[in-house]
Amino acid sequence: MVHKDMTEKVSIEIKRDLYDKAKKFIEEQGGFSSVEELVEFLLEEVLSSEESEERGLSKEDEEKVKERLRALGYI
């Protein structure tokens, strides 16, 4: 099930030489069907950790940090 907002598209402008570089890469290398797809993919990758609900530390990681801070005398 795809939410309507997720299929709606908007246009953004990027530098011509960057666009050309990306286009050349895709034509030679494949991997992506268009510059648009490449840009969307990279943005999603970079933003995925930012928008996740559990941004922060897992219980296990938090314990590790607590242990270290205790040994350092902060807590």
């Binding site: 950790s49 270290r68 005398g73 807590i75």
Partner: protein, 444 residues
């Protein structure tokens, strides 16, 4: 911006650097020198973020590394996701500047920045995604080796501590040099934690005014060597930077000798504020105060130790087994404050204690604030939260070796070759004004 965690003014502005900071001191002699008055509490977290967001700890809702949700006994640790205010580098990025951020606590988990970021000593480990962009991690490790986030203080193996310390410092210097010379940036913020670690582990071998000062052929040279290594590295790097680069050297707070540790929870027990279920004399020295040890029905308050103490009132309606009626809350606070401020030293000498409610200290109090924030003898004595000790006055820390406590004044010095700034000693600047100050330097 070179951030040297816990560097006091006496080291950078006076002669107390053991000859370490030759180059940097010469630079700032031609520049501007400020005393950086740190925040309440004077601790790494939140101090750096106060400097980089321009917000007080109250507005940030960050009162130290650990916090307690109302009604809970256990604590949680803050991380970068707790910082809800844009930082110096967030705003610089928005203005189109490319930024580099290295080692600023707390920046783990790393966030999206207009440039690159390597997180700090609160990173759980080198196996975690600790860089932005994520692929920077592999690049950095392949060029400079695995990232070292912190050292462990081993109480009786100072040789090992010194070795680990220099190993970490070299690792950071190599990484920052790589980033600073290979990447594009307009603003680079680097905080080096090794300085603080060296101070805490070796201060009594360095500061002749330490009450337990001791000369040691090796340990006494550790702190000056750390300074010297940073100084030489920086000189080399500085020569490779564009001539018009503005240099800022800053610290988040100062440091001074620790006179001892005071067992704050034992004192609360003696004063009748805290009641335990069992006889305290049967407890092993250094026992952590646990929820199950406390007779909650008869407990008014309990405390946390650290570089400062946080006191919590066992308030009815807020705590699971609250005993203090909300209508007596203010009165209880007043009484506790009075009693805390009257605590005296081991020989009956007067102490300069301060107990504040967060509301007294900040324009706004967000997040999980304690009921009282307590400093013993103007920070000279460290509050220890553990119990089971024979005395309330411990000559050493209750947790591992610690020769130093924090102090209110850090440094902020600026060198600008273009020479548009007034020179010399400028007075005090408050931590929450540092962001604005640096922005004026950048956008002047």
């Amino acid at each position: 911006m070179l951030g040297l965690d816990s560097l006091p003014p006496s080291v950078l502005y006076e002669d107390m650097d053991g000859g370490g900071f030759t180059y940097i001191r010469r630079l700032i002699e031609e520049g501007q020198k400020w005393l950086m008055r740190t925040c309440h509490p004077p601790i790494t977290v939140p101090a750096w973020m106060v400097m980089f967001t321009g917000k007080t700890p109250g507005e940030l809702g960050i009162y130290g590394f650990r916090h307690r949700r109302p009604g809970e006994f256990d604590y949680y640790i803050v991380n970068s996701s707790f910082i809800k205010t844009p930082t110096l580098w967030d705003d610089a990025g928005k203005k189109g500047l490319k930024v580099g951020v290295y080692g600023v606590p707390p920046t783990y988990p790393p966030r999206l920045v207009h440039g690159f970021m390597v997180t700090d000593f609160t990173t759980p480990g080198p196996d975690k995604p600790y860089t932005f962009p994520p692929w920077l991690r592999r690049e950095l490790e392949s060029r400079t080796g695995p990232t070292v986030f912190d050292i462990v203080y081993r109480s009786h193996d100072k040789d090992r501590v010194a070795r680990d310390l220099f190993h970490m410092l070299e690792n950071h210097l190599r990484q920052v040099e790589y980033l600073a010379t290979r990447k594009q940036w307009d603003l680079f913020v680097y905080v080096e934690i090794s300085v603080d670690r060296a101070h805490h582990a070796f201060w009594k071998y360095f500061d002749k005014n330490h009450p337990r000062y001791e000369y040691h052929p090796m340990y006494s040279s550790v702190i000056p060597k750390v300074y010297k290594r940073i100084d030489e590295w920086f000189e080399k790097l500085h020569r490779r930077l564009p001539k018009d680069t503005i240099i800022v050297v800053a610290s988040d707070h100062g440091v001074k000798p620790m006179k001892g540790a005071f067992t704050i929870n034992q004192w609360l027990i003696e004063q009748g504020y805290l009641k335990l279920k069992e006889d305290t004399t049967t407890l092993k020295p250094g026992t952590d105060l646990r929820r199950d040890l406390i007779d909650w029905e008869h407990t008014i308050a309990w405390a946390w130790g650290g570089y400062y103490s946080r006191v919590f009132i066992n308030l009815k309606g807020r705590e699971k087994q609250g005993a203090v009626d909300p209508k007596y809350y203010e009165e209880t606070l007043r009484q506790l404050k009075r009693d805390l401020e009257r605590i005296r030293g081991p020989n009956g000498e007067r102490w300069d204690n301060k107990a504040y409610t967060p509301q007294e200290l900040y324009p706004e109090v967000r997040g999980d604030a304690p009921d009282l924030m307590v400093y013993l003898d103007d920070l000279w004595w460290r509050p220890a939260g553990t119990i089971g000790w024979q005395t309330n006055y411990l000559p050493e820390n209750d947790r591992g070796p610690d020769d130093a406590v924090h102090d209110w004044l850090g440094v902020l010095a600026v060198y600008d070759l273009e020479d548009t700034l007034p020179k010399g000693f400028m007075g005090e600047i408050r931590a929450e004004k540092v962001k604005e100050f640096i922005e004026q330097l950048i956008y002047q």
